[in-house]
């Protein structure tokens, strides 16, 4: 692991989260709503996910629970801004405060605890299922290896044949 490897790993991990949040925001913007409450929704999703997998050790269930809670808070926001036409900026910021506040209140008992179960890393999943094991080094591959990642063919990288 050199510096570049670490940097790229972090970029991939953090970037995925940002991209998901941005995707949600883009959907809202498509219908003409500015949702500044994304931060609060993310916090609520995070605490829901961790609370669920702590009681039931299934990452898929945590994933679903986080989706449901995110949708519920999104519904609250939509009810206020779309049905009642309340100020979007104010409602969004209020949702951020509510979400982060509520999430850290509930999350106090979970703080610092590692998740008991997690999703398997994509790479491990691929290598086990497709038998591409040893040389699989996504990030340590030369820059040209990044191209298939961008074009949506991660299984090519996993082969490590670059």
């Amino acid at each position: 692991m050199d510096i570049l490897t670490g940097l790229l790993t972090t970029a991939f991990l953090a970037g995925g989260v940002l991209a998901l949040a941005a995707l949600g925001e883009v959907l809202a913007e498509r219908v003409g709503v500015v949702n500044l409450g994304v931060e609060g929704l993310m916090a609520m999703g995070a605490i829901t996910g961790i609370a669920t997998v702590t009681s039931v050790p299934s990452p898929m269930l945590g994933f679903l629970a986080a989706l449901v809670v995110g949708a519920l808070f999104g519904m609250l926001f939509a009810a206020a801004t779309v049905l009642l036409r309340a100020n979007q900026v104010l409602c969004g910021l209020a949702l951020t405060l509510m979400g982060t506040g509520l999430a850290s209140t509930i999350g106090r008992n979970y703080s610092g605890m590692p998740a008991p179960v997690t999703f398997e890393p994509v790479l491990a999943l691929l290598s086990r299922n497709f038998g591409m094991l040893e040389k699989a080094q996504v990030i340590a591959a030369p820059p040209s290896a990044m191209l298939p990642y961008c074009s949506g063919q991660p299984q090519l990288i996993a082969s490590g044949e670059w």
Binding site: N87, V89, L90, C91, L93
Partner: protein, 349 residues
């Protein structure tokens, strides 16, 4: 026959109904919060009583409120001024940091008599805030880039810049404070108790801006640009020039808030110094419905909410609970504000 009932949206809200909606939002939020507190095993009435007596029962409580209200009025004013010309300045947080950063540079490295340093810090704070909004302003004025996004993004840059200098190159090497700069060489003098001269400056500035906007030709043109840019352009008003001036003014006011906070209240630069004042300023401005004079009152309300939060923390409630309650109050207020535009009418059949 009575006919059916129907909701009708009015062009403007009746002031009495608007006020009632505000009060109703506050009451509902407090009742819900009170139920939550009671479920957690605490007495909400006792807590409420403690908050009121700690806020208004002593000079210390009032002084705390006075110190908190200064940055809230100024960042609220910054956002409200932007709204007048039709621009959303979500970046008051960043401009606050930029103002604090520039003022600290003067306070740390410029030698001289107290009054001179203070004057220079004042100028640095104002210029720092204006510089921080300069690029979003020009992008909006010449390329129609949404300032909502650009001003917001620069917040993170300013926040991290201040973290970097206060824990890195400018950190206090005397060992007293590890993650802050040394104390500044000049302080804003006290006005009353621990409340510094930023208090009259903030209120004076809000009144001044309100008067200029309401009674000068410039203010009239700015308000026209804000309410209808096309009509303003047709009337021969320099829309772009007003947009640039007012957005820079907005940044400058937020920068001044940052300067006053470090030179008056904290006396040194450190990370997290803004306490979210920039974001709270947006709420202050929206609660005041974009009125520069109104931010004095909504700033005071916000200061009371924040101060209540600090008092509640000493009573065992956490910051995050207080944060959630604040968000809930604002959420209901936004809904109440909108509902006050409607009235029930009876349709004749």
């Amino acid at each position: 026959m009575f006919g059916s009932l129907r909701l009708q949206r009015m062009p403007s809200a009746h002031p009495g109904i608007a006020l009632a909606a505000r009060v109703a939002a506050l009451v509902i939020a407090l009742v819900v919060a009170g139920i939550g507190v009671a479920v957690a095993g605490m007495n909400p009435f006792e807590l409420g009583g403690r908050v009121l007596s700690a806020s208004f029962g002593s000079a210390f409580g009032l002084e705390d409120l006075g110190v908190l209200v200064i940055p809230l009025i100024l960042t609220g004013l910054a956002v409200a001024v932007g709204q007048q010309v039709g621009a959303w300045n979500i970046g008051a947080e960043g401009q606050f940091y930029a103002g604090a950063f520039a003022a600290t540079a003067v306070g740390l490295f410029v030698p001289g008599p107290q009054w001179m340093i203070l004057t220079l810090m004042f100028i640095a704070g104002v210029v720092g805030g204006a510089v921080w909004i300069l690029v979003p302003t020009l992008a909006r004025a010449y390329a129609n880039v949404n300032e909502l996004i650009t001003t917001l993004l620069l917040n993170f840059v300013a926040t991290l810049l201040v973290y970097y200098v206060s824990t890195g190159p400018w950190r206090d090497r005397s060992g007293m404070a590890n993650s802050a700069t040394p104390p500044l060489s000049a302080d804003v003098p006290y006005f009353w108790g621990i409340v510094h001269w930023g208090f009259p400056i903030a209120i004076g500035l809000a009144v001044l801006v309100a008067l200029v906007l309401a009674f000068s030709k410039w203010g009239y043109e700015v308000r026209l640009v804000g309410s209808n840019p096309s009509a303003a352009k047709y009337a021969g008003i320099p829309v772009r020039k007003h947009l640039i001036t007012v957005m820079l003014l907005s940044g400058a006011i937020a920068g001044l808030a940052g300067m006053l906070e470090i030179a008056g209240t904290v006396h040194r630069l450190q990370g997290g110094i803004s306490n979210n004042f920039g974001y709270l300023g947006i709420m202050v401005a929206v609660l005041a419905r974009g009125s520069p004079l109104g931010v004095i009152f909504s700033g005071a309300l916000m200061a009371f909410i924040l101060n209540s939060g600090i008092i509640l923390q000493t009573q065992g409630l956490t910051t995050s609970v207080v944060l959630a309650i604040t968000g809930f109050i604002l959420f209901l207020t936004a809904i109440g504000d909108e509902l006050s535009y409607y009235r029930v009418v009876r349709e004749k059949v």
